[in-house]
Symmetry: C2
Subunit: 298 residues, 2 copies
């Protein structure tokens, strides 16, 4: 991502990402190693950047939102570790590196995922306990935690993953595809931006606009991802190409065709830009991000 705000916030996340993990003793050293392996295996950090960006956009200091930003990256990372397992997508490469279970074994990869999900909530709750004498801050932070819990749970990301694995080999309807895209990807984008908005004390107008924007770029991101799987090669994507096709996954290009998928991606990007237009330069991070996601190659 070329936007300088994006780079600044991403650097802040990369710098602090490991610092919020619970202190793990030597006897569970491999667990920490496995968790850190996947956390530091690269990644665009889109979700935590959205969270920090929304929090600044609404008037807060991004640094005070860091526990939530790191927590959402822990959740995203755990979901990838579990998603790559042989019983799920069975991927051996992620971002050009061997997946977690290929390095640490399946049992440890399951526990590393569990550990990251648990650490996300532990990290956020530990932060909330710091504000015991400040009811206003507790309120903001509790709302942020709840948004993340809802978005990553059985009415959000996990629901998307369930529908995704259940759709394999079946006839995919447009309705099911929408459901998978919305829940598997867009919901965590929405949760990230809403959590940031709450932390920043957003008014209801901004909260609504940011949510709508996040839904658009979340859906656009997933379509771009599906397109990359069809059109990209391993060098671009860092993982084996055509996996979705092998698994007979329900994807946008497989239902609508490549050209229609590109048109929909562009339509969603335009809508995202339109939502943020009234904020002019203040929303540059968000508008630049929408544009870059639409043309990303990796």
């Amino acid at each position: 991502m070329e936007n300088s705000e994006y780079k600044r916030l991403k650097a802040l996340i990369d710098e602090h990402l490991l610092t919020f993990l619970p202190e793990i003793d030597d006897k569970s050293g491999t667990l920490l190693e496995a968790m850190e392996y996947s956390l530091t295996a690269g990644g665009k950090r889109i979700r935590p950047v959205l969270l920090l960006g929304a929090s600044e956009f609404c008037g807060a200091d991004a640094k005070l939102a860091l526990p939530y930003a790191c927590a959402i990256e822990y959740i995203h990372t755990y979901s990838m570790i579990h998603d790559d397992l042989p019983a799920m997508d069975d991927d051996e490469l992620r971002r050009g590196k061997p997946t977690n279970h290929c390095v640490f074994g399946e049992g440890m990869a399951i526990l590393a995922g569990d550990g990251l999900l648990n650490s996300a909530f532990e990290t956020m709750m530990k932060d909330i306990l710091l504000y015991f004498d400040d009811p206003k801050e507790i309120r903001k932070r509790s709302r942020a935690l709840y948004e993340i819990a809802k978005g990553s749970g059985c009415r959000g990301m996990i629901a998307g993953q369930v529908a995704d694995i259940e759709s394999e080999g079946k006839t995919c309807t447009k309705e099911l595809l929408d459901y998978i895209h919305l829940n598997k990807t867009a919901t965590l984008f929405i949760a990230a931006i809403r959590a940031g908005a709450y932390l920043g004390g957003a008014d209801s107008r901004k909260l609504l606009d940011l949510s709508d924007y996040a839904e658009c770029i979340g859906l656009a991101f997933q379509i771009a991802d599906d397109l990359l799987d069809v059109c990209g090669d391993e060098a671009q994507t860092g993982k084996a190409g055509g996996k979705d096709c092998q698994h007979e996954k329900c994807t946008f290009p497989s239902i609508y065709g490549i050209e229609n998928a590109k048109a929909r991606l562009s339509e969603l990007t335009d809508k995202a830009l339109e939502i943020m237009a009234p904020y002019y330069d203040e929303a540059e991070l968000f508008t630049d991000l929408a544009k870059e996601l639409a043309v990303r190659t990796k």
Copy 2:
């Protein structure tokens, strides 16, 4: 368990256990089915009873602690689903019924576990949001959530599971055995009782006594479990016997021998009773529970 208080609290949990799960739509119906399958597959509900019992012991209405009690049972249940997976303990039976992955497949079992862990935090956080105008209640409830997050995480239950799978086939030291027992089982007992104590507004004396008591019965419970694996048969335990031995697990009887394991179990039970003795009849639930756990056969 014969204690009438125990029965009353267990009935309360069984009645409400499914009511705190997030509303899941039809497209993720199998997920809900898989989660409910393991939640309703029987079980003594020791952890949630400890939580409710501690909360009443410290002066609160058990009903108001139910979201936390159910959350800790979700966490215990997710840990069993993941623990039974082929990549972990590879168990086909649990409480006499086929394990989750044998019924729903490995992918769905992983997601059902993830879903239960996530739902635990979602449930507790949703409860906290109800008390926005009551800083004192928020404080108690946030502490309870944090105790549970810490106890189930990388410094607690997950650490125990990591050490457990890593110990397989290796020479087990007494120190490692203590570490596994404390973290794998006792930590969640302690978290349950401390969460309940916080919800009930415990003073520091009661908090300490309850924590010490929970550590004793948690360790005793695990020794009894190890003994059942060696001495019990499938009809008693509801799972295939001698599994620990097959996996060359680090267990109390394998290091100290059966007679010494029994002596240690009895010593821990006595210590638990001694801790609660100053509370006389008020602590009957806890003393009866300690006695019953020491002689349990299933």
